[in-house]
């Protein structure tokens, strides 16, 4: 079969297939980021745009793709699949679609590799761009955010469609015949979008009586092991861990000949832009058959900023800021830099998040944890039976925060209930520190109410706190919000609207009409000028 194919053609074909696979994953993942994608056309070929298409390379995605391929290429019996799934904030997940890049044995021996195959692969990528916006997952991904996020997983080997539920549909993006087989790109997508909770996420009681962290940036703060796939501009991350395709050893500068097709000339030049990092090489060398790696895609505001138009403008990479999350992906339970992954891509656990070491030597920044995310979260919860937390005092009390420890966390706001060993006597909420004469009614009223308790019984069951809503005080009108509201609830009617008054003034109005008309006629120019300004 390969005897008809020259070695140069074979090398070129392998390269085309490899970069085609990488670009396919980029297109699919970028289409599920939740933002509009925009790239610029360029009349001058740059040499780094494979298939003459401007498709930006997200380094993490390239890294994951290369890891999944592990030095192999999609081939007959070895399909590359990208699985897109949805995960809610409550932990329920659902597979939405699976994109498959497969190859079958049907060969097209007469086809020209460097010319026809290349152009058809380019056409297939354009079709993929169009189709990725058409499947139901696209609309879902555009609306991802606090309620749910979209995840992707790349795996190699047999296609798994069982997670798509009953009645899933298939759409074929396209086929390209090559001398070594026919490449097929297709998508199987779920049609039944009813979310079924596959596991019961055990709800524990409130751990912290008071939520200290008001400004939660990420919706999944409890799932500390899941990190967004942050998109960094080249050169901004730590030492360039991920080498993008542009930095790889091969650059495509394809020239075509206008001579008769049989004399097609294709030159694919090699250029070394950067020495590949040791981390990347080490990763590629690890034999990882059937590796299933999950990653999490976040909406744009979490991973990278978008310009005001709301479009991810990849023409201007400087518009991106580095992701706020320097977290890398770390494989749980990792020891010595070798990720522990199941031999077969496992549906249930592969959707759990995996992490990749940020340091080349693979020193795990955290102790070994169980592989499943749910048990990891539970560990956090169980350990918090006795916890120390800081209570923030009100804005108007000038005392440092106190540390309160409580062993019972069953009641919310348990810390505020007075106890025998409570520090209520020193509690600034109840007994404010003695202050000088109040400079404003605001401060005075606060203290006056509190001071009424200073001589009171510290052992009271209830703490009387007068309702003093913030910013409701007015120096000019010293009354509280409730009084103000009651007083102005029934305002008197406007004088001009009362009938008696208008009846009385009718006669007066008629008498004054001639005078008014005279004045208006005198000022007629002024009125005309005003009318002109309105037009």
């Amino acid at each position: 079969m390969d005897s008809d194919l020259s070695s140069q053609d074979r090398k070129d074909l392998d390269k085309f297939i490899k970069f085609f696979a990488l670009k396919t994953v980029q297109i699919i993942v970028q289409a599920r980021l939740g933002e509009k994608i925009s790239t610029c056309s360029s009349s001058s070929p740059t040499g780094s745009d494979w298939f003459n298409l401007a498709i930006k390379d997200i380094p993490e995605v390239t890294h994951e793709s290369k890891k999944a391929l592990a030095g192999q290429l999609p081939g007959i019996g070895r399909s590359m699949c990208v699985e897109i799934s949805l995960k809610t904030s409550e932990g329920d997940s659902m597979e939405l679609e699976t994109w498959c890049l497969e190859m079958n044995e049907k060969c097209d021996k007469d086809i020209k590799v460097s010319y026809t195959v290349y152009n058809r692969l380019s056409l297939l990528l354009k079709s993929l761009l169009a189709i990725t916006r058409v499947t139901p997952a696209y609309k879902l991904s555009r609306k991802q955010g606090h309620d749910y996020v979209i995840l992707y997983r790349i795996y190699f080997g047999d296609v798994q469609l069982t997670g798509l539920g009953e009645g899933f549909q298939s759409v074929r993006v396209g086929v390209v015949g090559t001398p070594i087989g026919t490449i097929t790109l297709s998508c199987a997508y779920r049609t039944n979008l009813a979310l079924m909770s596959s596991r019961q996420f055990e709800r524990t009681g409130p751990i912290m009586g008071i939520i200290i962290d008001h400004f939660v940036e990420r919706p999944f703060t409890n799932m500390a092991h899941m990190h967004p796939c942050s998109y960094r501009t080249p050169g901004e991350d730590e030492g360039g861990t991920y080498a993008g395709i542009e930095d790889s050893q091969e650059v495509c500068t394809t020239s075509f000949s206008t001579s008769p097709p049989s004399q097609c000339v294709c030159t694919v030049s090699q250029a070394h832009f950067k020495t590949p990092k040791p981390a990347l090489m080490a990763t590629l060398k690890v034999p990882l058959m059937g590796l299933g790696v999950s990653q999490q895609l976040y909406s744009s505001r979490l991973s990278y900023q978008t310009p005001a138009l709301g479009t991810v403008d990849l023409c201007h990479p400087t518009a991106f800021t580095a992701g706020a999350h320097p977290h890398q992906m770390v494989v749980p339970g990792k020891e010595g830099g070798v990720p522990q992954v199941p031999a077969q891509p496992n549906h249930g656990t592969a959707a759990e998040h995996c992490r990749i070491p940020s340091c080349p030597n693979g020193q795990s920044p955290q102790p070994a944890q169980p592989t499943s995310c749910s048990s990891e979260v539970k560990t956090v919860f169980c350990d918090a039976l006795e916890t120390t937390f800081t209570r923030k005092v009100g804005a108007f009390v000038n005392k440092a925060t106190t540390q309160v420890t409580t062993t019972s966390l069953d009641l919310p706001f348990a810390a505020f209930t007075p106890r025998a060993n409570d520090l209520e006597v020193n509690d600034p909420m109840v007994h404010p520190p003695p202050s000088p004469a109040p400079s404003s009614p605001l401060q005075g009223s606060l203290h006056s109410n509190s001071s009424s308790h200073s001589g009171g019984q510290p052992q009271d069951d209830f703490v009387m706190v007068d309702f003093k809503p913030a910013f409701s005080k007015d120096d000019l009108l010293p009354m509280d919000l409730g009084t103000f509201y009651r007083e102005f609830q029934n305002p008197p009617q406007l004088a001009s609207l009362s009938i008696d008054v208008s009846a009385q003034s009718m006669a007066e109005d008629l008498d004054s009409l001639p005078e008014k008309l005279a004045i208006y006629e005198k000022n007629i120019d002024e009125f005309d000028a005003f009318v002109d300004t309105l037009q």
Partner: protein, 218 residues
């Protein structure tokens, strides 16, 4: 060589006509445009890069991908706007057809003018419906979005059959195959025409034919 002809039909509300046509035409042109050719010595050439852009529709629940070329977008929008105006002014019950034809030029000897030989024609039949209330409009938004998705899948299916495409031309013949007037991309030579049908289903006697690429006016 026979001209390949494909027909697509859509039923849309009046305000959706423009976006629906843009979505279909741009999807076709995305596949029928390449980067700019740069011819070098010894008869070789290199190809520029084509960028793409997502476009959200305002009146349809749909997003389509177009080539990143403002010039091309302007030309297509102008043609679609003319079609939409013609559809609105025709007084018929809102049926029309817009055609995107890809052709090759064949040089003829003087005094004969160049021949235009179409090799692929896409016809999009439009049926404009009137809706009574907002609820129907909302349903229409989603339904038309789904229909357009099906049309995109149809287009992709046809294109990936890899049927006849003109041979890559030499430098002297590139203008017979490609439209080289744009500065950032290079679509195959194309023209957009439209017809408005009256309520009897036949072409209006004064068929309005506007040629965007008027090759006969040489």
């Amino acid at each position: 060589m026979n001209c390949r002809s494909e027909v697509l039909e859509v039923s849309v509300e009046g305000r959706q006509v423009e976006e629906a046509m843009l979505a279909v035409l741009h999807t076709i042109l995305l596949h029928r445009s390449t980067g700019k050719f740069h011819y070098k010595k010894e008869g070789t050439y290199s190809i520029g890069t084509v960028g793409t852009q997502d476009v959200d529709c305002d009146f349809i629940d749909f997003t389509f991908v177009r080539v990143s070329s403002d010039e091309l977008d302007r030309v297509i929008r102008k043609a679609v706007a003319e079609f939409k105006d013609a559809l609105g002014n025709s007084g018929s019950d809102g049926m029309g057809q817009i055609s995107l034809e890809f052709y090759q030029k064949k040089k003829s000897r003087w005094p004969f003018s160049d021949e235009c030989i179409p090799w692929e024609v896409w016809s999009i039949k439009v049926n404009v419906v009137n809706l009574a209330n907002e609820q129907e409009r909302q349903i229409c938004r989603e339904k038309v979005g789904e229909k357009l998705g099906e049309k995109v899948i149809n287009i992709v299916e046809v294109i990936n059959r890899h049927d006849y495409l003109p041979k890559m031309p030499t430098q002297s013949e590139v203008d017979n195959v490609f439209d080289t007037s744009l500065k950032d991309v290079q679509p195959y030579l194309y023209k957009i025409t439209y017809q408005i049908t009256d309520s009897l289903g036949t072409s209006v006697s004064t068929t309005m034919r506007r040629l965007i690429k008027d090759t006969l006016a040489l």
